[in-house]
């Protein structure tokens, strides 16, 4: 469904990604694990068209050339949403405004109310806080809102950048349970995580990214058993 070939990204003289290939099929949960600075966030930003890619990069989604779409159209026309690293909520806007802003360019206005209800049924706490400024939410609630916002903006594919970051284990389980629900309703998920164990348990397939190169790929159960992965990412 989403296919990336030879993805290269440079920031000035530093090359962050050296020709990476991967794909996501419909309804799948795929994860990219790797150390800090391996290029995980850059990969997601490249798909979202937030960073320029080198000219021999090929990215297609449902047969469409992703490079023909600017960042806002990737979301509004292709339905690829992105939960950025560090959540990046609009703290001066209310919870409700954050969710509504995500529907800015949606044509199917008749479904917005229904989707909003769905977000509030997945994350009941957001409903209680809907009139509150997003900046006043707790870390867990902020992550819920960031996911809810992505859900509202488009959800053929959801790109998630470190959703576990800064969350207590119990809250983290809540968030991943919610992501599973969203996935079961048909949203494909590309998850980027430093918490490799969590990510591999959650995903069906995984890729291992090392300093801008994909070094391993496969079924996530197999990756969990892989001695190299165990040694490098799962603490032995």
């Amino acid at each position: 469904m989403l296919s990336v070939e030879n993805l290269s990204v440079s920031y000035g003289k530093i090359t962050a990604l050296h020709g990476v290939d991967f794909h996501i099929d419909a309804g799948e949960i795929v994860t990219i694990i790797g150390a800090n600075g391996a290029g995980k966030s850059t990969t997601l930003r490249a798909i979202s068209r937030m960073v320029p890619v080198s000219k021999d990069t090929k990215m297609t989604y449902m047969g469409k050339n992703l490079l023909d779409y600017p960042a806002d159209k990737v979301v509004s026309q292709l339905g690829i949403s992105h939960v950025p690293e560090g959540r990046r909520l609009f703290g001066n806007l209310t919870v409700m405004e954050n969710l509504k802003l995500a529907t800015f360019a949606r044509k199917d206005t008749e479904n917005i109310g229904r989707d909003l209800e769905r977000v509030f049924s997945i994350f009941t706490r957001l409903k209680e806080r809907s009139g509150q400024k997003a900046g006043t939410l707790s870390g867990g609630e902020q992550q819920m809102l960031a996911i809810g916002r992505a859900f509202m903006s488009g959800r053929k594919v959801m790109l998630l950048d470190e959703p576990s970051m800064g969350l207590a284990p119990l809250l983290m389980m809540d968030v991943f349970k919610a992501l599973k629900d969203i996935n079961e309703e048909g949203t494909a998920i590309l998850l980027v995580e430093q918490n490799a164990r969590l990510a591999l348990q959650f995903a069906q397939r995984g890729y291992v990214l090392e300093t801008g190169n994909l070094v391993l790929a496969g079924d996530s159960k197999k990756l969990l058993e892989d001695p190299e992965v165990k040694k490098a990412y799962l603490g032995g």
């Binding site: 930003r45 979202s48 068209r49 937030m50 960073v51 600017p70 960042a71 806002d72 159209k73 979301v75 509004s76 949403s81 992105h82 950025p84 560090g86 990046r88 609009f90 703290g91 001066n92 806007l93 405004e97 509504k100 802003l101 995500a102 529907t103 800015f104 360019a105 949606r106 916002r149 992505a150 903006s153 488009g154």
Partner: protein, 308 residues
């Protein structure tokens, strides 16, 4: 004494309206793009001149007798058409001057504004010549006496129209989805596209609205002080810029209030001191205010904005 004070209060309200209307444009652009459009004072000038052209054209049309237009209707039409046309000038400035430089060093974007300002001033000079033009009198001045205070119908109109536009802007920014996108851009413009919102469109719209408000100021200024010249926007632009900073960078409420405050300070200083000393004393006071409130009235102590 009370009468004189009240009299000057009315004058200050009118004078402050011009500053406030122009300051809003500076403030809106700053809040979403973190840069000051230094050409904005000249957009005010362009607005006044477009208003002059539109009003002159409409009066000529009315004189030909083909369309019956009372003067108030000409003024309303002039306002609407001029806002529309000036907003295009603003969008053009954004497209040519600012969009290509969005990721350039801030200093480059700052001189862009200065250059565009010079181009607009000298372009006007080249087009219309050095002769000053006179804004056609569309309102016959009436003076009313209310308890010792003399107010003209023009002053009342100017203050009310200005405040109406400021309120309309406030409603737009706080209630509409475009206003919501502007507020979102003010905190973190990098992730705004992830909401499906085109930042180019929001930037274009912001320049358009700011320019339309400057056009309103230009026309109202023309109604009050009919002589226009190509450099009229410079001093006004700088002072409105002062208001925008004094209000707190990026704060719409702050820019409005500071615009009026500047009007008050100038008028009341002129009430006490010789008018040649007006700006010397008025802006020393403003400087003093800024020393004690370096972030302005509604500004944040430091920018908490995130960047990619």
């Amino acid at each position: 004494m009370g009468g004189v004070l009240l009299q000057n209060l009315v004058n200050a309200l009118q004078w402050g309206s011009f500053y406030a209307l122009i300051a809003l444009g500076y403030s809106m652009v700053y809040s979403i793009l973190m840069l000051f459009n230094f050409a904005h004072g000249d957009i005010f000038m362009v607005g006044a001149y477009i208003g002059f052209g539109v009003a002159t054209g409409l009066i000529a049309l009315a004189k030909m007798g083909t369309i019956m237009m009372p003067n108030w209707l000409i003024l309303v039409l002039t306002l609407i058409i001029t806002m529309f046309l000036t907003s295009f000038v603003g969008m053009l400035v954004e497209r040519i001057g600012y969009r290509p430089l969005r990721d350039a060093p801030r200093a480059s974007a700052a001189i862009t504004g200065l250059m565009i300002g010079i181009i607009l001033e000298t372009g006007n000079l080249a087009l219309l010549g050095a002769q000053r033009v006179s804004f056609p009198p569309l309102i016959v001045s009436h003076t009313y006496e209310l308890g010792g205070v003399f107010v003209t119908n023009k002053k009342i109109m100017i203050v009310f129209v200005s405040i109406a536009f400021m309120l309309a802007l406030h409603v737009f920014v706080t209630r509409s989805k475009w206003g919501m996108a502007m507020r979102a851009m003010a905190v973190d413009y990098v992730v705004v596209p992830l909401m499906g919102v085109s930042i180019n469109n929001i930037a274009r719209m912001t320049f358009a609205i700011g320019s339309a408000l400057a056009a309103v100021a230009g026309i109202l200024f023309g109604v009050a002080y009919p002589v226009l010249d190509p450099y009229m926007g410079i001093m006004f632009g700088w002072k409105a810029f002062v208001a925008a900073i004094l209000g707190g960078r990026g704060s719409i409420m702050g820019a409005t209030l500071a615009g009026f405050l500047l009007g008050f300070i100038e008028i009341f200083v002129a009430m006490i001191f010789p008018s040649t000393l007006r700006d010397l004393i008025a802006y020393s006071i403003v400087l003093l205010i800024l020393v004690f409130r370096p972030h302005g009235f509604f500004g944040e102590p430091y920018s908490a904005r995130l960047r990619l």
